[in-house]
Amino acid sequence: MLNSNKRALGVIFPNSYDALVPELVNVRLMASIPFASRYRLIDFVLSSMSNCDIDNISIMVNNNYHSLMDHLGSGREWDLVRKNGGLHIFPPFAEKESKPFIGRVGALASILDFLRQQKEKYVVMSDAHIAVNFDFNAMIDAHIASGADVTVAYNEQELPEYIKKSNDKGFYYTLSIDNGRVTKMYINSRETGIQNFGMNIYVVDRELLIDLVNTAFVRGQEFFERDILAPQLARLNVQAYKYEGYLARISGMKSYFDENMKLLDDYNLDGLFSGAPIYTKIRDDNPTRYINGAKASNVMVADGCVIEGEIENSILFRGVKVAKGAKVKNCILMQDTVIEAGVNIEYLITDKSVTITAGKEMKGTDTFPFYIAKHHTV
């Protein structure tokens, strides 16, 4: 095999935490949510893996994955078109008796045969709800140096209020760490103050993973963290790997809005993008045109836009049109949104191809931005 000299293969779970952003995943999944004016969330983990020479990547889609497949194509943009390895998209196995998997155990159990046939010694696993420019090689080095069975990435931060309120919609994990080793994993903690907040990024020996998943699956267990790691912390050497760089964790509509807006600050934007390049699907748009009469202040704008009105404190994705006399303030306008003449909007998130017709006035608030679903005309 050509890729037998590679250390690790990647597995990505693009549906994780879908339930936290029900509006945005109505027509897609977490991984294909548009972010930062021209990217989808999966671009960050996928580019990071590709940049670290991980070129055998499996994507365990569960549902609503049309938009993701359209976005990924053959994987060319991430240089993942390979004869050996490359990009594998694994849809749920459809048998009469089987139902779609819920957690990572079910997902991995469905590809055990595939995992057995691979040559890489390690498996790197990640969700796609965090936009981060991650150096997987540094983490794999740490995993090898410590002799761990499993290494888990975490960052230090307070738990966001909105994630504490959403504990029925997905598990999140905090860690107790003693001298680098994880001694306890807490599920959906309500603690205040700085926590060791798990990033759901793991490095694990491939053969050990197969073993652990096999055992858990036959016992009917579902979740890698809750059912495999947490109960076995005394037996398994689980090491913590601290990530200190910039990250944007999407854990609700409000955090989606805030994490986009944070990128208007160059310090944050550079924090996310100054590492290795982040690739995305290319649209071959024209540069953005500012026509006479346009006003722009504190905005991030992708290519392909035509601005004739006023835009302020906003993020515009590719191909957005803002007509004469329109005012756009504190908004996120996704791809091909059309804002017609004289419209006045604030704190609005428009999904792809939304049209706001002439003269309309709509205002959400800082704590509750309004959301308009894909293809709707207001």
Binding site: S37, F273, Y279, P287, T288, Y290, A296, V299, M300, V301
Partner: protein, 250 residues
């Protein structure tokens, strides 16, 4: 393509009869007999082209030039050559001023007729892979075209910025074409000029000037050049060496 008579000497020109059959071809003549310029686009019958290229290659006196040899030889032999009239936007950007003009025409498609914005007839190019561009709250942007990776904190008016251009606070860019990766430092004034890739324009430096009277020169700064702080570059300058702080060139 019909070109203005005063520009005709820059082109290969055709004289054609009422059936558009070409009767004469002049390559960049001093005294043009026609203003029908060749766009350099030909369709040949393959066997004819092969024959004339082979013969031309074997001729020690030939300049091996399309306009000077191949086309005249075809005319000499009375081969059938016809002109095809193109009426859309076309511009030979072989001079600094025509390159500058063509860029400015992109900003005014209604009058210039150039249309790069047809979704059914896309113009493809390399993609920079940079993030969306940023316009800060200190910036003023008017009638300009801006692409990925740019960071604008100064004033940009009637200009074209390529990928990754930075315009710092208080800088002024007007009627300018600024290519990829160039940094225009705070207080610098850049007008009516073409700045190539990865140039640094120092603080409070002045490059080019808006046309006044007879002087309508388009200043140019070559790739990778550093223009020092407070330096002054006149409207006719072609800068291809680094310029010291405070230095003046006209």
């Amino acid at each position: 393509m019909e070109v203005p008579w005063e520009e005709a000497p820059r082109f290969g020109l055709m004289v054609a009869d009422e059936n558009d059959r070409i009767t004469e071809f002049q390559e960049k003549p001093k005294n043009p007999k026609s203003n029908l310029a060749s766009m350099g686009i030909y369709i040949f019958n393959w066997d004819i082209l092969k024959k004339y290229l082979t013969e031309d290659e074997a001729d020690p006196n030939s300049e091996n030039d399309f306009g000077n040899n191949i086309i005249p030889n075809l005319l000499r032999d009375n081969r059938k050559m016809y002109a095809y009239h193109f009426s859309g936007y076309w511009k030979d950007v072989g001079t600094i001023s025509s390159l500058w003009e063509a860029n400015m025409e992109v900003l005014d498609p209604e009058h210039s007729g150039i249309n790069l914005f047809d979704d059914n007839w896309k113009i493809y190019s390399r993609n920079s892979g940079m993030t969306g561009h940023k316009i800060s709250s200190d910036a003023v942007v008017e009638n300009s075209m801006i692409t990925d990776g740019c960071r604008v904190k100064g004033n940009v008016k009637h200009s074209i910025l390529f990928a990754g251009v930075q315009v710092e606070k208080g800088a002024v860019v007007e009627d300018a074409v600024v290519m990829g990766g160039t940094v225009i430092k705070s207080g610098a004034v850049v007008k009516h000029c073409i700045i190539a890739e990865n140039v640094t324009i120092g603080e409070n430096a002045v490059v080019g000037a808006m046309p006044e009277g007879d002087s309508a020169g388009v200043a140019t700064v070559g790739a990778g050049i550093k223009i020092g702080n407070n330096a002054k570059i006149g409207p006719n300058a072609m800068v291809n060496k680094n310029v010291e702080d405070g230095e003046e060139q006209c």
